[in-house]
Amino acid sequence: MSEPDKRPSDKGLIARVWSFVARPSARFSLGALIVAGGILGVMSWGAFNWSMELSNTETFCISCHEMRNTVYKELQETVHFTNRTGVRATCSDCHVPKEWHYKLVRKIQATNELFHKIIGTIDTPEKFEQQRLALANHVWESMKATNSRECRNCHSKESMDLAKQSRPAQRMHKLAAERGKTCIECHQGIAHNLPIGWNAPAAGQ
């Protein structure tokens, strides 16, 4: 006696899904499927980008109080927040890459920050202060590694007119160029308070 054929319900989940997807539609025309697929694709892509952009907004960044009451407050006191020309740099302008693939990597990294908020590593301004030096060092290192890429979204050597800068700024920018320094190596603390011990003095002991 031969073994009876397996019925669809006997297949595994993956096999059933594959069978459904792979089976030609007997109900919808190819054109309808393409149009529906296109619409769904655009919607999905839009939703993805919308969520990416939403998570780039200042509102999103300061929705947790350890950001709102610390670094955001400090940013408001700086030239990057209020200035003569009315150009404002907000959190993501300095901390999220513009290029898509770098941005995606950064967003994935950011989930780690959310994870640490959830598990309570940094979920209060006090804990943030305790970690500020390590966090700042991390940011500075990554900025240095990218040649201050996010600074250069707005600032470029080519469009910088040294003659219009103050005398010390002219000299320091020349020195920095000669030494191959990148923006963040001199401009730490330009938008936030510097952590205690960020440049520990010469220790005699």
Binding site: R167, P168, L175, N199, A200, P201, A202, G204, Q205
Partner: protein, 440 residues
Amino acid sequence: MRHVVMGGASVVLWTASLCGLALAADPQAIDWSNIAPKSLTLFYPGESTYDWLVGLEHKGAKQIRQGKACISCHESDESDLGNTIVKGGRVEPTPIAGKNGVIAVAVQAAHDAEYLYFRFQWKTNLNREGRMHDYVRFDGKGWKWYGHDRNDKSVRAGQQPPLYEDRFSIMLDDGKVPRFAQQGCWLTCHNGMRDTRNQVVGDPVKKHPIFSEAKYDADIRKYLASTRTDVNASWDKTKTKDEIAKIKAAGGFLDLMQWRANRSGPVAMADDGYVLEYRNFDDGKNPFSWNLDRRTMTPLYMFDAAKVGARALRVEDIGNPAKPGAIIKEVNAVKYDPNAGWQVGDILPGRLLSRIDATSSAADNDAVFGSWKDSTYTLVWRRKLDTGHPGDDKIMKVGGTYTVAFAIHDDNVTTRFHHVSFPQSLGIGVDADIKAVTLK
């Protein structure tokens, strides 16, 4: 006998035996030609007090408040800064005509197991040593002050000659004074001090609960921002005595040593002090004190004519390297005789020096030799790494790295009319801005 040349003239100072100098510890005996000098540019800072640095006029105020280093904006800027400020302007409301903006100093350092040694060389603006200080002149009736610093009203008005000692100062820290490695002596310079904005003198000082004590003068001198309670570190917003004592006990003070061409140089010493709530002197006795009762303006000692050739100087002797600039109790002094037939124009130093009277921590810098030749000072200096006085000295160790800052008072000036360096790291046998090389 050891002879130290001051201004080209041999002046018998002190014997090697009395100095207690073993040859190995004599900074004059070191072969400095084998030690590479570090060139520093000391510049004229004008009235750039700490208050000014954190104020609206200073573009880098935020960076200063954040604790950033002066050189983060002003690296290699000393010449421009000094030459600009010295001409007068927003940080120099009262410029001194003819003053130089910068002084180049060659710094060499060495050490052995016991001592740190320095050698400094710099050119002076004036074609003579500034070894005159607090002189008094007999006017036929009594003794009156003669000469002042160049900022004094009487000197600016041409009524008195510019007479004030040259100085070389060292500030030293071991990392316990916050921000000294970044901002150096600017942490100690504030509005309200002598010759600064809103200078405070007399009653307001002596009525202050802390400065009413007799050990403080009736004016404000260097102090650390850490001893004050407000952001601007105002002179009168002091922490409590207990709080200040705690900062001191924790080592949060700056060592400040000054070689003084009149008040310590002639006895081959530098003074020893510290900056905390005020510019204090260390425990013990300095090599200098007053040579007159300032209430009656009566001198205490005069020159020993048998040794010096006269009981007093004359105006024309000032600047003559063959004549002594100071009265040294154990070398060239005898008790003042009011009936010695004083003539109009006789001049006596208003300060009395004594090496043998100097004691304790105030006498730590006991082998500091300065000479002036062809408008150039050469100053060699020794200091124990561990003075044994941790209460008011910074204790150093071989292999340690410290922070130093230097200042020169040149050409008859005092207070802020000096030239200063940005802070420098000093390595005792290890690499730093200034490396004290290990003597074999």
